[in-house]
C-alpha cells in the first residue's frame, strides 16, 4: 500500500549514467588502489569487540589492513597514524546478511520457480547510491541475495562496501557461495497468479523435491561417467553439462550455503525434513518470524536465523511476528542475526540491534553480535570479519554515541584498514568516490520485488 511510501521511490531507476570517473576507474582496472597508512592506532574508544565484550578506553592497532592488536593498550610502532577516538565508540563493521541493494531491480528471475544458475554478481551495480547510504550507516559487508519469488532462486554475491572502487574490488575475496531458497506466500502467489505450479504450499515443496530428484539423476550420470574414466574407458561419453542441474548438484554436494526465505514455524520443520531427505544443510532461515515457536527443534539442526526486529502484519504469514522473536530464539540456542532486506533499514542496523535490549533484554554484547559476528557466520566469513580480534580484517566503525542508541551515527568507516567514509568531510563524506551515483531507487524489500 502506498499511503506512507515515497511516491518517487520507483522513479529514475533506469538512468545508466557512465560518469568520467567511472570510465577512468574502468580504464584503470587492476591498478593498485591508493594504499592506506600501514599502521593505524585508534585510541581511547569504547571498543565493542563483538567477540569478547567491551573495552572501555581501548585501543585497536591496524597493520596492513588487518587487526594487529586490541586491548587497553596496543604495541604499535611509533610511526603509526593515531586516531584519537576519545568519547567515541568502536565496533566491527556492520554486516547485513540479507540485502538486495545495488541490483538495479534485477532481484527476481521470476520466470520459473527453480533458477539456481542465476548469479547475482551479474546484476551488481557498484555505483548504486544505496551502497553509499549503507556505508554511511556503518555497513561494511553485505550478502546480496536473489529475491523470494522462486522456491530455488539464484546464487548470492558477497561484497565489501568499498564504495568508489571497481566492481571486482568490491567483491569479498574467496567468500563461500550461498544460494537463496524461498517458501510460503511469495512463490505460490507469483506462480499461482499465472495458474502455474506452485500455487500452494504443497506445490511449493514438491517443486523443490522434483528439482532435487533431477539433480540426483544428473549427479548419478556424472558419477557413472567419472567411474568409467577412472577405469580407463576411453569411449566414455561425458553427459551434457546443465547449469541449472549443476547448481542443484552443488547444493546436494554441500558446496553452497542454503539461505531460505521462510516465515512460518511449520515450514521451518518441513524445510529441515527435506534438507535431511536430500542430504544438505540449511545455513540460515531468513525472516524466520515464527522461530520462537519451534526454536529448540531448529537449534538442534544448527540452522541460524536472519530476522527482522519488529516487522509484522504486512502479510498473513507475518501475522504472528513478535519483536521478542530474536532474543527468545537466541535463548533457545539459535544463532541470531538481524538483517535489513531494505535499502532503508540497512542504514540503521545498529539501532535495530539496540531494540533487542528493549525486546527481550539482550546484553549489549549479544545485541552487537546480531549485526556483526552472527551475520558473518551466516555468510561464512566469520573467520575474517565480524569481530575486533587480532588477525581479522580491519573493518571498523567509529560512532559518535553508543551504537545501540537511537542517537548514534557512523563518524568513520574503515574497510581492510582503509578509510572509506568520514562524516566530518564536506559533501558526501566519501574518500574513494567522486562522480555520479546511480539512483538507488526504492526502499523495497524482496517481498515487494518478487514479481507481484
Amino acid at each position: 500500500m502506498g499511503s506512507l511510501r515515497h511516491p518517487l521511490s520507483i522513479s529514475a531507476r533506469r538512468s545508466r549514467i557512465l560518469p568520467l570517473a567511472l570510465m577512468a576507474a574502468c580504464a584503470a582496472f587492476g591498478r593498485a588502489q591508493p594504499t592506506p597508512p600501514a599502521d593505524i592506532v585508534i585510541r581511547g574508544a569504547t571498543v565493542m569487540t563483538g567477540s569478547h565484550g567491551t573495552i572501555e578506553h581501548g585501543s585497536v592497532w591496524v597493520h596492513a589492513g588487518k587487526i594487529a592488536g586490541v586491548g587497553p593498550t596496543v604495541s604499535a610502532p611509533s610511526s603509526a597514524t593515531v586516531v584519537d577516538a576519545t568519547g567515541l565508540w568502536l565496533t566491527p563493521g556492520i554486516i547485513d546478511p540479507h540485502s538486495h541493494s545495488a541490483l538495479d531491480s534485477d532481484v527476481n528471475e521470476a520466470t520459473s520457480p527453480v533458477t539456481p544458475s542465476m548469479h547475482m554478481i551479474d546484476a551488481f551495480d557498484n555505483r548504486d547510491a544505496d551502497l553509499y547510504r549503507a556505508l554511511a550507516g556503518g555497513v561494511t559487508t553485505e550478502l546480496l541475495l536473489h529475491g523470494s519469488a522462486n522456491m530455488i532462486g539464484g546464487q548470492a554475491v558477497v561484497i565489501k562496501n568499498k564504495f568508489g572502487l571497481d566492481r571486482d574490488a568490491m567483491l569479498f575475496p574467496n567468500a563461500p557461495g550461498s544460494i537463496k531458497f524461498a517458501s510460503g506466500e511469495n512463490p505460490k502467489r507469483v506462480y499461482g497468479s499465472r495458474d502455474q505450479l506452485p500455487s500452494t504450499r504443497m506445490g511449493n515443496f514438491e517443486v523443490m523435491r522434483m528439482a532435487f530428484e533431477d539433480a540426483k539423476h544428473y549427479m548419478a550420470d556424472w558419477d557413472a561417467y567419472d567411474a568409467k574414466v577412472k577405469k580407463g574407458d576411453k569411449d566414455a561419453v561425458a553427459p551434457k553439462r546443465d547449469l541449472k542441474l549443476e547448481a542443484l548438484a552443488d547444493v546436494l554436494r554441500g558446496k553452497l550455503y542454503v539461505q531460505i526465505h521462510c516465515y512460518r514455524a511449520d515450514e521451518f520443520l518441513t524445510e529441515e525434513a527435506i534438507a535431511k531427505e536430500y542430504g544438505y544443510k540449511i545455513r540460515a532461515f531468513h525472516h524466520a518470524l515464527e522461530m520462537y515457536k519451534v526454536a529448540p527443534q531448529i537449534a538442534a539442526d544448527g540452522t541460524a536465523i536472519a530476522t527482522f526486529t519488529d516487522w509484522w502484519g504486512f502479510k498473513d504469514e507475518a501475522r504472528d511476528a513478535i519483536p521478542w522473536n530474536a532474543v527468545m530464539s537466541m535463548r533457545q540456542g539459535i544463532r541470531v542475526a538481524l538483517k535489513s532486506d531494505s535499502d532503508d533499514h540497512i542504514r540503521r542496523l545498529n539501532v535495530e540491534a539496540g531494540k533487542m535490549v528493549h525486546y527481550g533484554g539482550a546484553t549489549e554484547d549479544e545485541a552487537i553480535r546480531m549485526v556483526t559476528l552472527n551475520p558473518a557466520w551466516i555468510i561464512g566469513v566469520d573467520d575474517r570479519v565480524g569481530s575486533i580480534d587480532v588477525g581479522k580484517d580491519a573493518d571498523l566503525v567509529l560512532w559518535n554515541h553508543d551504537p545501540l542508541s537511537t542517537y548514534a551515527h557512523a563518524m568513520k568507516v574503515y574497510i581492510d584498514g582503509d578509510l572509506f567514509f568520514d562524516a566530518s568531510l564536506p559533501g558526501w563524506g566519501t574518500t574513494h568516490f567522486s562522480g555520479v551515483m546511480h539512483d538507488g531507487g526504492g526502499f523495497g524489500s524482496d517481498d515487494e520485488e518478487d514479481g507481484q
Binding site: L8, S11, A136, D310, W312, W324, D344, T406
Partner: protein
C-alpha cells in the same frame, strides 16, 4: 511498582467536529505518581516529581513536596522512571488496515475519483484492530487517522485515543482534510494508469481549483436558498464536506514531497485561504526558508525517506532540525521509509524523533514534535500533549529516555486508566515462553 487498574469510567460525547470530553463522570480512584523524572514538555523537567491523576485528568503536577497527595490516592512509585505525556502520531492508518497484503482488510482510500472530501475515516475506523495495542505498549496514546495518499482530496481524518470503546476512542471526527499533490496522484491517470483526466500535475491543480470554485458557488447558492427558506435546495455531500475547510475553520493536511510541488500547491492553498499543515516534505531542502515564511506547521515523515540521487546521506535525516531552526512548528510521524509502510510500525514513533535528535534537532523540540505540537495542530492543544493541570491524564512511565530504542515502557495511562500492558504479541510471547 504496583498498579491497580482503577475503574474509571468516562464518556466522550461527540459534539460537532471535536468531541467535548466529559469530565462529569467522576473517577472513583485517584492516582499519585511519585518520585519520577517528569518531562512536562510545556514547562521543563522535574527531577523528583509528583503527578496526580484524578477524574481522568491531570489534577496536579510539581516537584516532590510542593504537591499535596490526596488521601486515599493510589501511590505509584516511579523512582528511577521517566514520566511523560502520551505520544501522539500525526499520521496513521489505525483501524483502516490489518494485514497489508490482504486487501479485504484494508479501507485505506476510495480510488474511484481524485476528489473525495466526503469520505469520512470515522465510517471505516475499526477500533478492535490489533495494531492499536501494539503501538500503545510503546507509549503512543493518541493519533490522527488519515486515509492513504492516492487521491488529491482523500477524505477527512479522525483524532483518536488508543484505548476505550469505539465512541470513546474517536475524540474528534472530520478534524482535518487529507490532501495530496505530486507524482503518485498523477500516475493514476497517466500513461501507466487509466489514461483519464487528470494525468499531469497541470490536470491535478486545475481539477482542485475548479473543485474549490464549484464549492464557493455552491456555498453562495446554498446561502441564498437558506435565506429564502427554499426547501427544494438539494444538498451535495461532496461540496458540503469542503465548506469548513474553505472557510478556514479546520486544517487541511497536504501531503507533498518535492520543493517545486510544495510551491505549486501552497500557491493554490493561499488562493483559497486554506489553513495548511504540510506533510512529508522530505525533498524540499531548497525551499525551507519559504516554508518558514508561510508560517505553516509541518509534519515530517518519513524521516527515513531516501535522499535524492547524489544528495548527502543525511539530507532527509537533518530536515527536522533545519525546519525547527527556522522557527517552523514541526511534528514527526511514524511513517517508515522501508518496512511495512503502515501503522504496524507506529510503535517506532519515538525512535523517529530520537533519530532527528541524532541529526541536530534539540531534544525538547523532538519530544514536542510527537506530543504537544501534534495536539496543537489538530485542535487538542488544551487537552493533550503535556503534563499540565486540566489536561487528559494520558501519561507514560518508562525505564529511561523515551526516544531511545533500548527503553522499556512500563505503564501507560489513558484518561487516568492504567491500560493493561497486553497485546496479541505479548500473548504469543507469553504462550511460547512457558
Amino acid at each position: 511498582m504496583r498498579f491497580v487498574a482503577p475503574v474509571t469510567v468516562f464518556v466522550a460525547c461527540l459534539a460537532g467536529s471535536i468531541a467535548a470530553l466529559a469530565a462529569d463522570t467522576p473517577s472513583s480512584s485517584v492516582v499519585a505518581i511519585v518520585g519520577g523524572k517528569l518531562l512536562t514538555v510545556s514547562h521543563g523537567t522535574i527531577d523528583n516529581g509528583v503527578l496526580i491523576l484524578a477524574d481522568g485528568k491531570i489534577a496536579a503536577v510539581g516537584p516532590a513536596g510542593s504537591v499535596k497527595i490526596p488521601k486515599g490516592a493510589q501511590i505509584v512509585d516511579a523512582k528511577g522512571l521517566t514520566v511523560y505525556p502520551g505520544l501522539i502520531d500525526p499520521e496513521s492508518n489505525f483501524g483502516l488496515t490489518e494485514i497489508s497484503a490482504d486487501s479485504a482488510t484494508n479501507d485505506l482510500e476510495e480510488r474511484s475519483d481524485e476528489i473525495m472530501p466526503h469520505m469520512h475515516v470515522s465510517d471505516a475506523f475499526h477500533s478492535d484492530t490489533e495494531l492499536i495495542p501494539v503501538a500503545r505498549l510503546n507509549g503512543i496514546t493518541n493519533a490522527v487517522v488519515a486515509p492513504a495518499s492516492g487521491d488529491s482530496i482523500a477524505g477527512q481524518d479522525i483524532f483518536i485515543q488508543l484505548y476505550g470503546s469505539r465512541e470513546q476512542m474517536m475524540l474528534g471526527t472530520d478534524v482535518a482534510l487529507a490532501m495530496n499533490y505530486g507524482a503518485e496522484q498523477r500516475r493514476r491517470g497517466g500513461p501507466t494508469g487509466r489514461a483519464t483526466f487528470p494525468s499531469t500535475r497541470m490536470g491535478l491543480v486545475t481539477e482542485l481549483r475548479q473543485t474549490f470554485l464549484d464549492t464557493q458557488d455552491y456555498m453562495a447558492k446554498r446561502d441564498a436558498a437558506a435565506k429564502k427558506s427554499d426547501a427544494a435546495f438539494k444538498r451535495d455531500l461532496k461540496f458540503e464536506a469542503l465548506i469548513p475547510y474553505l472557510k478556514g475553520e479546520r486544517p487541511v493536511v497536504i501531503g507533498v514531497y518535492e520543493a517545486y510541488d510544495v510551491e505549486t500547491i501552497m500557491h493554490l492553498a493561499q488562493e483559497f485561504h486554506l489553513r495548511v499543515i504540510l506533510n512529508h516534505v522530505t525533498h524540499t531542502q531548497e525551499v525551507l526558508d519559504e516554508i518558514a515564511a508561510w508560517k505553516v506547521p509541518v509534519i515530517i515523515g518519513s524521516i527515513y525517506d531516501a535522499p535524492r540521487a547524489n544528495e548527502r546521506y543525511d539530507a532527509v535525516f537533518t530536515l527536522p532540525a533545519e525546519l525547527a531552526k527556522r522557527g517552523v512548528k514541526i511534528a514527526i510521524s511514524s511513517a517508515d521509509g522501508g518496512g511495512p509502510a503502515s501503522s504496524h510500525s507506529a510503535r517506532n514513533l519515538p525512535y523517529a524523533a530520537g533519530f532527528a535528535v541524532g541529526y541536530g534537532l534539540p531534544y525538547d523540540d523532538a519530544l514536542k514534535a510527537i506530543t504537544l505540537n501534534v495536539a496543537e495542530m489538530f485542535g487538542f492543544g488544551d487537552k493533550l500533549g503535556s503534563l499540565d493541570v486540566g489536561k487528559m491524564a494520558n501519561v507514560v512511565l518508562a525505564n529511561g529516555d523515551p526516544l531511545d530504542v533500548r527503553t522499556d515502557v512500563k505503564q501507560v495511562y489513558i484518561q487516568g486508566v492504567a491500560v493493561p500492558m497486553v497485546s496479541r504479541q505479548t500473548q504469543l510471547r507469553d504462550e511460547y515462553s512457558k
